[in-house]
Amino acid sequence: MTPDLLAARRLIRRGLGLTVVGLLAAAGVYVLALLYTPMEVRQGLAQKIFYVHAPAAWGALVAFAVVGLISILFLWLHDERLDLLAASSAEVGIAFSLVMLTTGPIWGKTVWGTWWTWDARLTLTLFLFFLFVGYLALRAAVQDRGERARFSAVVGIMGLVLVPFIHLSVYLFRTLHPQPVLLKPSAPSMPPEMLRALLSGMGAFTLLYVGFLTLRYGLARLDNLREGAGDAG
């Protein structure tokens, strides 16, 4: 057994472990949210989706930042494993953004009667989703491994730099077209129980992200070894 194979398997085991813990933590958050948070006056039970919805957005953002930062490291160090890590983060990130983009409209429709609003969080997550799609589509379209890694890194870095501009554009746009007061997802002044649930949610999802990432990365390393063995010689 080569050290690489051992490392890959260890990563998968750790990843599985972290994921299980993360899922348990997430389940714990749901319990916390359902039983221990106050009912929001206007929105009722449906508001509690927020405790999934906001952390998922957070997870997507973390995943995206990781892709960008690892891409910079890759262009500097040229270690193929960094490329695998970035790609794994993109896959986890796209999953999280899909969770956010589906729970968001469900919440919106139940509570405010509209499926979609162009508020800052939804818009940013939508952009992250499209950037993830572009990143993964490009990876699928490029055959040569070296090229694929370099191109992905470039797209990752450029995407990272784009995010502040999206944020700025949405901010400038909204100051022109103020949204109705209803659509204010989270006021800073939240009762402590809600804040606690929210932060726990974010913690659980971060754990889940790390778990998924480690697992996916381990699998990617394994795949990479098999591919390498396949085309050597």
């Binding site: 262009l75 499209f130 490009l138 379209a141 070296g146 370099r150 450029m158 501009f165 554009s169």
Partner: protein, 226 residues
Amino acid sequence: MADFLRLAGAIAAKDIRLELRSRTALLSAIVFSALVLVVFNFARDPTALAAIDLAPSVLWVTFAFGAVIALNRAFYVERENAALDGILLAPVPRSALYVGKLLANLAFVGVVEAVALPLFVLFFNVGLGHALGGILAVTALATLGFVAVGTIFSAMVVRTRFAELMLPVLLLPFMVPPLIGAVQVTAKLLAGRPLSEMLGWLRLLTLFDVVFVTLCILVFPAVVDE
């Protein structure tokens, strides 16, 4: 520095000469833009919305799509006979190659826009008058932004199987900030609003251009060098 500009200029000049020789990409982009304008005309209800309300959006969507069509050309020509390798063999700094391609692309997209703008005025009966200077300025500013990003992406997608599809998928998210800024400024210009109302957007556009042109110059070598 002088060498750098000389090389970038030589590459841009070669691209322009090549395109003038074959003309296919440029003509396609121009015709496409004209068609987009025609479609927009039939896609709206003239009784419900005045042309002037939609005008900035129509103009900029047309410019954006015309640009994407024109951008595919840039590295496509380098595929024949491995011409790109010929350039990479030579003592040409990769950033000079990027700037040369950027200049050529700006020229092509500029031509497409120069044809689309009068057509737009014609089809939609929108008087530009006093706003013309401002519109030309904001067009230059926004176009630089998306052509800068488009040039580097076209270098990447040219070897993939579905290049014409991949480029818009990658590029469109990056075109949104310049587009928003351009549409807002154009709308204000057409409405005769004072400059102070546009400053925020103009700053955004300028910042976008500076940041992304610099970034593209920095990462371009990773795209072309193995």
